[in-house]
Symmetry: C3
Subunit: 646 residues, 3 copies
């Protein structure tokens, strides 16, 4: 457990660097990320490499005892590069090249740009690959930020055609897989196929799904150019990438396979404003962020990083990029930091050291204000640094609950929502949050993951059903909760020949005869539960555990499997989970909306996300006699408590 910070020496007079480094160390920071975005300073003219300033910056930080994560600057190709190679630019849906003047203006499919990146990354890796301060590398920055995964360039089109030819071999196989006989969409050659864009009405969903898969693969291929070079020149160092929360346009697990560590950028207040929460929730957690949204991402990136992960950008105050940008509650930056550490983060690194007085992010807070005075977060970071020293919780243990998350299913649901508010990530976090409210720790895993050791496996969104998933589930002995639409598509984006749930029918004997989506305001009452948005009409020999008053079963259950034939409400989810937990002997709590627990090693953490105090004694049995190492039984707003498990 350690703290870090993001620093841009090129933004400040060289005379200030040493004092900055000293100040960081004084606060208790040990890791510094630098270098990303600095291309125009590293190579101000084509081929003219000016590393001297960076040498001095790294040495200055090194002398202060700080470890460095060195970022590659490829998210911001400079103007001269763009002008020399206009084919580097990404192309929008209307065929217009993106323009210079911000960042991420490049196309992942541009071979020209891949070559340029290889050149600059190789130069960096050769120069700093063995530097004792450089302990890790970050590739690029936030792949996908500002909706940049997709490019409709000539390079992307050519790449897509090659990708399809590789996948299908023969054009007839593609025509059959996509069902192109529909609307005379049949192709005679792979070279007739364009990206699915600007069609008169929606393009074929199979066409769109393959396009999404291709685009995701391009990100991984783009990144691999860098990781291969870094590994060659900088052995023994970690390679990471900083993922961004809420981004699902490429498969984070697939990229994660070629990384050592998954890092992510955690902005709880910005995400609260971005996401789908109702007005009342946005107001309630205005200065705290949603109690489950950030935690879900911690658990996700632990899965993506195969256990190794960090928060490499932690929001330290108001940001500049949301519709509204409030300040965190006093103490909240500390609470966020502890939530991440409780989930197993190796490091929490604040973005950024000093608020820049210029350019696009001048309204983004840092640990310091532009005048170098300490902002609120500096005090809170210092407190965490002190607290960390008193704790040795050990590392993360396998959670009792796994949640299976599949980026391909996210794309599929976005391509074919069938109901406008069928938001895939919302459904996934809806399941996740139910487990959190019961006090359960959760691992987020890929559909191909080994499920051994889990008590309960949640599959809220398993649209595509891997051929071996039922076998792995059965082998694990875990109980399994399947969400609506499970197995509703073949890999070719077709309805299974035997109707949904297709391959998942080996788990539970049901058939989905019909599905319907329901506009907001329409509620199907189902005893104590309320169904909204989505209802399936099921045929099954099973007697449903719950049915709508109109007679449709919404919850089917076998000894080991639950199937939810609707968009469930919170009460239904908690009922299903609590019943399984009772059977499995897993103790559950009934936590209020703002109190959350998380276990790391032998330490149990509790965080209060409310703006009012909360007493653990109301929710945690034996709370008054716990062995507290941080805080106590009464948690103030944004309060943190931790106690040793016996």
């Amino acid at each position: 457990m350690k703290l870090g910070v993001c620093y841009y020496p090129e933004h400040w007079p060289e005379a200030q660097w040493a004092e900055d480094a000293r100040h960081m160390a004084e606060i208790g920071i040990t890791q510094v990320r630098i270098g990303e975005f600095a291309w125009s300073r590293i190579e101000p003219e084509p081929g003219v490499l000016t590393f001297e300033w960076l040498d001095r910056a790294i040495d200055t930080l090194h002398r202060a005892g700080l470890h460095i994560v060195l970022g590659t600057p490829t998210a911001t190709p400079p103007k001269w590069l763009i002008d020399a190679h206009p084919d580097v630019l990404a192309v929008d849906a209307h065929g217009r090249p993106r323009r210079f003047g911000s960042r991420r203006h490049y196309c992942f499919s541009s071979q020209t740009y891949r070559a340029q990146c290889a050149r600059i990354v190789a130069a960096l890796a050769r120069r700093y690959g063995q530097h004792p301060a450089v302990q890790a590398w970050q590739t690029d920055n936030e792949y996908g930020c500002h909706d940049t995964i997709i490019s409709y360039s000539d390079a992307a089109r050519a790449g897509f055609r090659r990708w399809l030819a590789d996948k299908y071999g023969q054009i007839d196989a593609l025509n059959k897989a996509w069902g192109n006989v529909f609307w005379s969409m049949e192709y005679r050659h792979f070279d007739e196929i364009d990206p699915p864009v600007e069609t008169v009405t929606e393009a074929n969903p199979a066409h769109r799904q393959d396009w999404a898969r291709f685009a995701s693969d391009e990100v991984t291929a783009f990144d691999k150019v860098q990781t291969d070079i870094i590994r060659a020149h900088s052995p023994g160092r970690d390679v990471l990438h900083n993922y961004m929360g809420m981004f699902t346009a490429f498969d984070h697990f697939k990229l994660g396979k070629q990384l050592d560590v998954a890092a992510w950028d955690s902005y709880p207040l910005g995400f609260l404003e971005w996401a789908w929460w109702p007005e009342a929730t946005k107001l309630r957690f205005l200065r705290q962020g949603h109690p489950d949204f950030t935690a879900f991402h911690h658990d996700l990136y632990r899965g993506v990083g195969k256990g190794r992960w960090q928060v490499i950008e932690q929001q330290p105050g108001p940001v500049n990029w949301s519709a509204w940008n409030p300040a965190p509650l006093p103490g909240m930056v500390r609470a966020w930091t502890w939530e991440a550490l409780a989930h197993g983060a190796e490091c929490v690194s604040y973005f950024r050291w000093r608020q820049a007085p210029f350019a696009q992010e001048q309204m983004h807070a840092g640990l310091l204000r532009p005048d170098s005075s300490e902002a609120e977060a500096a005090y809170e970071a210092r407190q965490v640094a002190t607290e960390i020293k008193a704790l040795t919780p050990g590392s993360h243990r396998q959670a009792p609950v796994a949640l299976v998350f599949d980026y391909e299913a996210v794309w599929a649901t976005q391509i074919q929502p069938q109901g406008r508010d069928y938001r895939p990530l919302e459904l996934v976090i809806h399941f996740y949050a139910a487990a959190r409210r019961l006090g359960l720790s959760v691992d987020v895993v890929h559909p191909s993951a080994d499920l051994t050791g889990y008590q309960i496996v949640l599959c809220p969104l398993q649209i595509f059903w891997p051929v071996d998933l039922a076998l792995r589930l059965k082998a694990s002995g875990a109980a399994c909760v399947l969400g609506p639409r499970t197995g509703s598509k073949t890999d070719d984006f077709q309805i299974p020949a035997d109707l949904p749930p297709g391959g998942a029918r080996t788990l539970i004997p049901i058939t989905v005869n019909r599905v319907e989506s329901l506009r907001p305001g329409h509620i199907e009452q189902a005893g104590p539960f309320q169904v909204t948005r989505w209802l399936e009409h099921i045929a099954s020999p099973l007697t449903p555990e719950a049915s709508t008053d109109s007679g449709h079963g919404i919850w089917y259950r076998t000894e080991a499997v639950d199937y939810l034939a609707c968009w469930p409400d919170a009460q239904l989810l908690e009922t299903v989970l609590a019943k399984r937990c009772a059977e499995r002997g897993l103790a559950v709590l009934a936590l209020p909306d703002g109190l959350r627990l998380r276990q790391r090693g032998n330490i149990q953490f509790a965080i209060n996300y409310e703006a009012t105090p909360v007493n653990l004694a109301d929710y945690v049995p034996g709370a008054t006699s716990l062995d507290f190492v941080i805080g106590g039984v009464e948690l103030p707003p944004a309060g943190v408590a931790a106690w040793k498990l016996r």
Copy 2:
């Protein structure tokens, strides 16, 4: 009265065809529409015609005793055609060609495409024109679907210039008609004129109205290429086109003149979601559709088809294309079918036979599920087929009420709404629904129609006033109800020199001195009535029947004419109509929102659109002693009753 279905043999293994045909016949279906969208199978390579599979499909259906409506495949030109002739593509408002990958990507003005269509249609007509099973042809599919009437191609621009030159002869006539002296918009030659698009602020409304007229004429001209060929090669067969509900971008009456039968595609739940209804209405009729919306279209297409019409695509379950896609109430597909037959439909044909497991419409229900099991609608269709056999109602009789509907007025109101919520189709159906609530049957007619025999003529939206309409109205002896804005524009989209209502002033002595539109929330109380959206300030020797509390007359009345100087509320409309009916000796009812009556021949039908039962005795005098042929005095949800008129 018969039932039909839409079938795509090319989507299924040939081995399945015979069983499908047998199954159709068993259910009671006698008409099958096939062929539309099949271009890539009929001509897989340029010039290579592969009719053999279609021969066998037609023969298979024929052997099962089914009649065929053969569709031309011109809504979906294949990829090779587009690549060989890129000028076939429609062009969007920003000058970008539409792209291949869905359907309707062609430009109506492309002479190249017209030639290609002539070629393929001639080949089809020659091969199948005399086939005994082929009883009718459908041209193309849903002209206008996905907003495809307008194209800004070079061909359209050239066509528009020719169209204007034909209409105006001299450029000075056009400049004068359009008032181009305003803002120095005067042209010196027809070749200087572009489509009215991407101007800095709105283009001249006269320019836009002529563009809309031109675009509508292009549809008719495009269609005529096909109908002429079909008539030449397939004498004695009906030619129809399947119009789509809610589409008003071209003049359906004008196209109807060259057809034998008007067909339309009726999706009551999809339309409910699409249309302007308030939230509460959308929730109330979520699984039933709006009781008057579909009926209006039935009456409209009977007018368009000069009495001959059918529903060629009937929604059988959830669809895939609305924001939300609920399932119909049990029994509702039967009720929709009977509503159409009650309005005089020759056939109701379900879309589609079997739900396709692939491509864009895989979530669109059919009579069968993808696994060939029967979906709910199959049972309901079978029930109707049985019920039909017991009934011989005869054909439609002239209704007592005519509603004049003018596509040109729709365009004019969209071009110049003057108040954002002045939705022309909403106003028209608002008038129509008032008559339905009074239990009156309505014919929807073109402004040029013969009005002889009607008791009441409604003109809710007669912006342009045909020079002879007043004479025809007077000659008919009918009472006439004129909506706001009647006669408010000359054919050149100018305000009449003597102010509105222009030519309609010979019917009623009023002058519209001023009009105003009112934002939502502003209500002008007028005794028991409430005026919203629109209020006219009238000068007249007449004493108004009703006035706003602020002193503006809103209802003027003579012996034979009512003029409504506002957007009327439901109560005002019903009051006006009921008063005229009383004078004319027309009996009226007071039907609740969900109960509707319709007469066909000597049979009176009643449909319950509520999700709760309704008792006819509460609304229909003598209901307990009727001679029921379907149902009885108590209608369940989605219930149908029919009785013989004495």
Copy 3:
């Protein structure tokens, strides 16, 4: 004080002109604006000038005793000009040239168009510059209407590069000023710089601010071509431009420097609908317009015109261009006219004489209807003309309150709102309205204005702090109220090195350590006040006058300066102002929302904006014994009263 009208002789038969002129004079009109938009009649073919009709029109008006404001027709270049010189067209953000067919399709930066304008304006000025009837010239029409200040043409890009090179001299100076080291945005040459458009995420705010400044300067430069020519050929005549309300995309003060008179186009009902008012306000003032919005513009344009200004287009009835277009309350046109005159207008000129029955504005009311009958406004104008004769109020006197308004700050706030609803003009008018409710007259002035003589100076939006403003404020002796974000940016759009309020700190010892924006629905209670939208965290030796319940000072006060560290509510603004007024011995009233007072010379005017009567005695001390020259103590809806000050 006089009345005018806008007239388009080219729209009407020549035979009608003399009667029109007579009728105008009869009503009491003395000024007529003509000529704008008439290019296609003045020059129907390239180089063919047909002035004869205009000669006759001017002579006809002259003979009726009318004075003429002659407009240059440059807002509407004709089609032949566009076809001959396509580079005249403005280019949109996506690189597409704007199209012909409405107006304002030209690019301010096009040197070709400037030459064409010089040619036609010189021809007009030579012909009519000395005509005795021509007393003033209007350049072009409503610069900026329909969002036309910005063009992304090649000419604009080249101009922008020159402008930047002039401003910064060296590229390094620009890189440093903009902070281009951020995200590797550094340039090597001015010719590498493009307009800030279509970047992947937001462009650098400094880049955008300079682009806004450049675009504004282009308007002034464009206009100067015309004013220089007119002054050369038409000495002694006033040159004016008709600004449009709510437009802030160019600096009206800067353009005003080269004009003799500022004119503006006042459409109170259209603006009410356009602007940010909540639903309830829009309904309350539906037929009156907002009581402070129009008045603010009067005071603004008096400042822009250095004291000389007029309303050259006054709404006379419903317009055609808002989402909804209601009619004014009876008497409201008179009330608007008097409000303008009370603020010191030299003339109020109605737009337009006769409603045109054709083209885009056919639904825009005039003094006459299309059939030449008098519309309501004609009667009200006649009444004002009579009333004017009885009054000699003298000219405007300096108000006790100045409000500093800075267009550059509007752009800055739009570029970096930081909270989505931080609407700059709303904040400014929020301050202005508070003063109006207290019965105070206000002058709106440029930040560089001489502040001598004012008692109170309001700076609601002084983002950039002119180096000498603190000195001028102190020298004036005025009390000063500073709004949030005062001095928060340097001229280079950077945060001041010593943090905000930067240069304004010499006025009041505070430091803004942090700012936050708050989503709608979040209220920070501060005793009797409510903070929404924006809250600053202040460090200061001062004890705040008011603080949020969470402990943040929101109102800091010294002997002469108030600083508001939040988006204040109406009550806080009134409290701050009333307290200063009390100290300064300025009497204040407590006017209800719909009653407003304004002083001109020795006459005090009162206008009732409510749809219900109001009694002055309830609000104005001694109201029953005033020396009324218009109206009396009881004001009907839309009523006007005026009395002599003693």
